[in-house]
Amino acid sequence: MLGPGVLDGNAIGGMLMSLFGADMTAATGVCGSCGTVAQVAEFAVYQSELGTVVRCRTCEAVLMVFVEVRGVTCVDLQGLARLG
């Protein structure tokens, strides 16, 4: 069970919008591990000083990772089978 401090995709709406140029919270993602289909706003979001990790709410597999390195945001979406 995900803990009380866990957020959801709404919390990274601003970051996603500045990265992708559009609102992504309503976009649909498909988990590459279990196939769960959900809107980005419904994903489990973990934020720390090191970066942001986004997990599938069903199987907890990592879907997206965001890390800022010297002013550049590095984005890893390999955990997603589809995003759009």
Binding site: L2, G14, D23, T25
Partner: protein, 246 residues
């Protein structure tokens, strides 16, 4: 790992504080003048960025408390160990400037065309975006029935007390006070649970749309409860604020 930083149209801009209003001992509404504000939809939020003298920056997201067309306002709850909220609720004055970016969000948004009936569930400061929805509903004259289930620690912690005490036609506000309640209180006095939802929520057969906002634990419990009552998961929209800090 792919490295991309694609620039969108969402940029930081400087907002000036027009006025501040204390809603409760720990909650303050800040009205902002944002020169390049493009307008917003009910339920959206904005990000605030503070920069310290040493260059340290902190960003936080706050739901927009005002309806589309009204001056931009955010309502901030002061968290005891917060980095940003103590400044926004205690230090900030009219004339001060902060950086904001927004509006943000296309999921936790309600427009009249979306319909209802609407079941709004608020835990603490989760009431903020729901109040924007209520104001917008009045503004556009929507006849959609609304029930707002609002959980607070005590009556003193209820935000927008006056406004919610005079709900517009078609709107019912049901409070639950979880830690203490006034003498003579006849309302709910416990955390939201399945039994309370069964009494308060619209029947699933009415095709309601639910918006649930507040601390993560609250949102999880209410969303699960509504699905248990037969609400399709796709008809329950959620916005989690994290640990309540209390």
């Amino acid at each position: 790992m792919a490295g991309t930083a694609v620039r969108g149209r969402l940029t930081w801009q400087t907002a000036t504080v027009a006025s501040v209003l204390d809603e409760t001992p720990s909650v303050r509404t800040v009205l902002l003048e944002v020169p390049e504000w493009p307008g917003h939809r009910a339920g959206q939020h904005l990000d605030v960025r503070l920069t310290a003298e040493d260059g340290y920056q902190a960003e936080r997201s706050y739901s927009i408390a005002s309806a589309p067309g009204e001056p931009v306002a955010i309502t901030v709850e002061r968290l005891e160990d917060g980095e940003v909220s103590p400044y926004l609720t205690q230090e900030l004055r009219a004339g001060d400037q902060i950086e904001v970016r927004g509006p943000i969000g296309g999921y936790f948004v309600w427009e009249a065309a979306t319909g209802g009936p609407l079941l709004l569930a608020a835990g603490g400061s989760g009431v903020v975006p729901l109040r924007a929805i209520l104001r917008y509903r009045v503004m556009v004259g929507s006849p959609v029935p609304v029930r707002l289930l609002y959980s607070s620690r005590s009556w003193a912690d209820v935000i927008y007390q006056d406004e919610l005490s005079r709900p517009s036609p078609g709107v019912s506000v049901i409070h639950t006070l979880t830690r203490s309640h006034p003498d003579g209180w006849t309302g709910y006095t416990r955390r939201v649970d399945a039994a309370m939802l069964a009494q308060v929520a619209f029947r699933a057969s009415a095709g309601p749309l639910a918006y649930v906002c507040g601390p993560t634990n609250f949102v999880e419990a209410v969303a699960a409860g509504l699905v248990g009552l037969g609400y399709p998961a796709g008809r329950v929209r959620t916005e989690r604020f994290g640990a309540s800090g209390q």
